[in-house]
């Protein structure tokens, strides 16, 4: 079937008009702001200011010298390096345990998923109570079993790791649900074939069937968790405000304080661009490199 020129023109016009609403919204709400942020990061604009000057890469040059930003970037990387493996492995473990036995399955699923659905700000306040140095349940429990209590949120060496623990607690349930969906889609034939082929016990089964078959899910979970870890903000803002002495300063919190506390919008925009580059790098790594290695065809 061959389409005459007017027909094909009409078809592409139809296609364009159908795609247009989504395209326009995408430009207004996604691409437009992104371009604005990138442009802003090249200026010395201050919030509420009436003038602005293009200063080229000046903001980025300052970022490279800024000890707060360096600290912030390092803290974010440490946070991601702990939260990603922690919540992915624990999420996988929880999913495997829950899938292994059908009793109380939906109860466990709901319990683990609760932190995902709860407002993290509200939950952060609960954590604050629990971690209170004097009457928090964590320290009371530690004292009761004869261990050393700590000031979890105000100790410079501990605060970031405390936030990591809360971060793992928060994203574990989401990862678990994704892994459970992945587990149910593994054909039972494969486990049976593995049993006939000589896979004894859970570890063999996991190595030859579960882990490879979960490849696409695992990759997705890792990338999503990494991006969410880089976005950590709520718990920092509520619990530590970047302190004590910048020990929990993270990228988005730096961006927030530069742009909205010190009103240095241009500088804040530069931090945002750095953040976006990191997140995009993850997405690109997944799409262009890793996806091919986990979809076996």
């Amino acid at each position: 079937m061959t389409a005459s020129p007017p027909q094909s023109w009409r078809r592409s016009a139809t296609a364009l008009s159908l795609a247009a609403p989504a395209l326009i919204l995408m430009v207004i709400f996604l691409i437009g702001p992104l371009v604005c942020v990138i442009l802003l990061s090249l200026t010395n604009y201050q919030l509420g200011g009436s003038t602005l000057q293009l200063i080229g890469l000046g903001n980025y040059a300052e970022l490279a010298q800024d000890p707060t930003f360096q600290r912030s970037l390092l803290n974010t990387l440490i946070y991601a390096a702990i939260v990603v493996p922690g919540s992915v492995l624990l999420g996988l473990g929880a999913a495997l345990l829950i899938e292994a036995d059908s009793s109380l399955r939906s109860f466990y699923r709901a319990v683990y998923f609760l932190p995902v659905m709860a407002t993290i700000i509200a939950m952060a306040i609960v954590w604050e109570f629990m971690l209170h140095p004097q009457f928090g349940i964590v320290n009371l429990t530690l004292k009761a079993i004869g261990m050393q209590p700590h000031d979890w949120l105000h100790d410079r060496t501990l605060a970031l790791f405390t936030l990591c623990a809360i971060g793992i607690w928060q994203s574990l349930g989401f990862n678990m649900v994704l892994f459970m969906a992945g587990l149910t889609s593994i054909p039972s034939d494969l486990y049976e074939a593995a049993a006939v082929d000589g896979a004894h016990g859970g570890l063999d089964r996991f190595r030859i069937v579960t882990w490879p078959m979960l490849g696409p899910v695992t990759l997705f979970v890792i990338v999503i968790t990494a991006i969410r870890a880089f976005q950590v903000f709520d718990t920092v803002a509520v619990l530590t405000k970047g302190g004590p002495s910048k020990s929990t300063e993270v990228l988005l919190f730096t961006m927030y304080s530069e742009a909205f506390s010190f009103f240095r919008t241009g500088y804040g925009a530069a931090v945002t661009v750095v953040f976006l580059v990191i997140v995009l790098a993850f997405a690109a790594l997944k799409t262009f490199f890793l996806d091919r290695r986990v979809h076996y065809s």
Partner: protein, 407 residues
């Protein structure tokens, strides 16, 4: 290819000694399977009701039945993939009820092939050997680069994989992933994975049902040939009577969780023990006429068929005749049917007749030439040769009958 069989047989025979046997004495690797009173229920539904079956070493047994008759469940019980509620499975004199599948020395081919999608064809076929010859640590990726003797073992495995790949003509596919293979190629890989460690018994669960018709016919011949070459016991589950009839030494017809008959294909076809066996096997379906016994014959729709049974006179029976055994009579004195449809198969003609007194249409298979001029709606007189008539009681059980010598 026939010239190659001898050579490959020799290769196969010499290699078998290097394969470590799971059972203590390799000499006992015969593949004799016996099932005793196997029962299984899912909730209130009884899937298997006391299955007894003895399979001799090297036999090709097909379990044939409609879907839901319990044949796959039975195979899974033999494999050890699901436990039976009652009864015992014995392989070569050893009860294997409590052993996991891997310790029963069986191999299984699944309907879905169940290949590992992340492994290449060669790696897929090698899995059973790696699981047996290498320990947990040695199977770790990269371990073979350490000086541990593992590389010798992996070379040996690779050699065995090549041997099996040659037998199945899939040497050129060894480096591909299952996702890049056609259905027939996947089927061969699944067979290769089953063959690689020379098990005592092959279990095959509808292995050809995902293939297209032409390939199915081809693979049918190939599996039968493979069996002749390997001489390993095969238990093959299918709902396809053509597969059962063409490949097996013995067909076990199962329905509603029971074995109705276990006999060689020709006996199943010519001498069915139960009406349901007669109806399930054979295409077109066997014809059924109502009948009743007289003192020395069977009365079918007014026609006297000289067959003697042990039944008392005036007992209702079901009379079954295969389509190709009904002959067209010359005069219209006896049974006659009205032609409602005819199908030309080229060599043969299928006449669909409505016979008053019969619930279903009667199908007659006849040579095209003899029935060429019959028109739809015309009356076709039939005769039932006594030798072709099978008699069943009203419950479907076969009634022995002998041709009465008439004066």
């Amino acid at each position: 290819m026939p010239a190659g069989i001898e050579r490959e047989l020799a290769i196969d025979g010499s290699d078998q000694r290097s394969v470590p046997a799971v059972s203590p004495a390799p000499a006992e690797r015969l593949g004799e399977v016996s099932l005793h009173q196997i029962a299984k229920a899912f909730g209130a539904t009884r899937i298997l009701r006391g299955i007894d079956l003895d399979i001799s070493p090297g036999e090709f047994v097909t379990i044939l039945g409609p879907s839901g008759c319990g044949k796959s469940t039975l195979l899974r019980i033999i494999a050890g993939l699901s436990p039976q509620d009652a009864g015992t499975v014995t392989i070569d004199g050893q009860r294997v009820d409590r052993r996991p599948p891997s310790e029963r020395d069986i191999a299984m081919v699944f309907q879905s092939y169940a290949l590992y999608p992340h492994l290449t064809v060669a790696q897929n076929i090698a899995v059973p050997l790696r699981m047996r010859r290498l320990n947990w640590l040695q199977r770790l990726p990269g371990f073979r680069f350490l000086p541990s003797g593992v590389s010798a073992l992996t070379d040996e495995i690779r050699h065995d994989v090549d041997r099996v790949a040659r037998m199945l003509h899939i040497e050129h596919l060894l480096d591909r992933k299952p996702g890049q293979l056609s259905g027939g190629q996947k089927q061969r890989v699944a067979l290769g994975r089953a063959m690689i460690r020379s098990p005592r018994v092959f279990l095959m669960d509808e292995p050809l049902s995902n293939l297209d018709a032409e390939l199915r016919v081809h693979m049918r011949a190939e599996i039968a040939e493979l069996h002749r070459r390997l001489q390993t016991t095969i238990i093959y589950v299918t709902h396809d009577q053509a597969e059962a009839m063409t490949m097996s030494d013995r067909v076990v017809v199962m329905m509603d969780g029971e074995i109705l008959q276990a006999d060689p294909p020709d006996v199943i076809y010519n001498n069915p023990a139960h009406l349901r066996v007669a109806q399930f096997v054979g295409s077109p379906r066997i014809n059924l006429f109502p009948g009743s016994t007289t003192r020395d014959a069977i009365n079918v729709l007014g026609e006297r068929i000289p067959l003697k049974t042990a039944l008392p006179a005036n007992t209702s029976v079901q009379v079954a005749v295969r389509p190709h055994r009904i002959s067209l009579a010359k005069d219209s004195a006896g049974i006659a049917g009205r032609l409602v449809h005819s199908e030309n198969l080229g060599s043969d003609l299928l006449l669909h007749l409505e016979v008053s007194g019969c619930a279903d249409r009667i199908v007659v298979r006849t040579e095209a030439s003899t029935a060429a001029m019959r028109e739809i709606g015309s009356t076709v007189p039939l005769s039932l040769p006594p030798a072709a008539v099978l008699i069943f009681d009203m419950d479907g059980r076969r009634i022995a009958a002998s041709e009465a010598i008439t004066a």
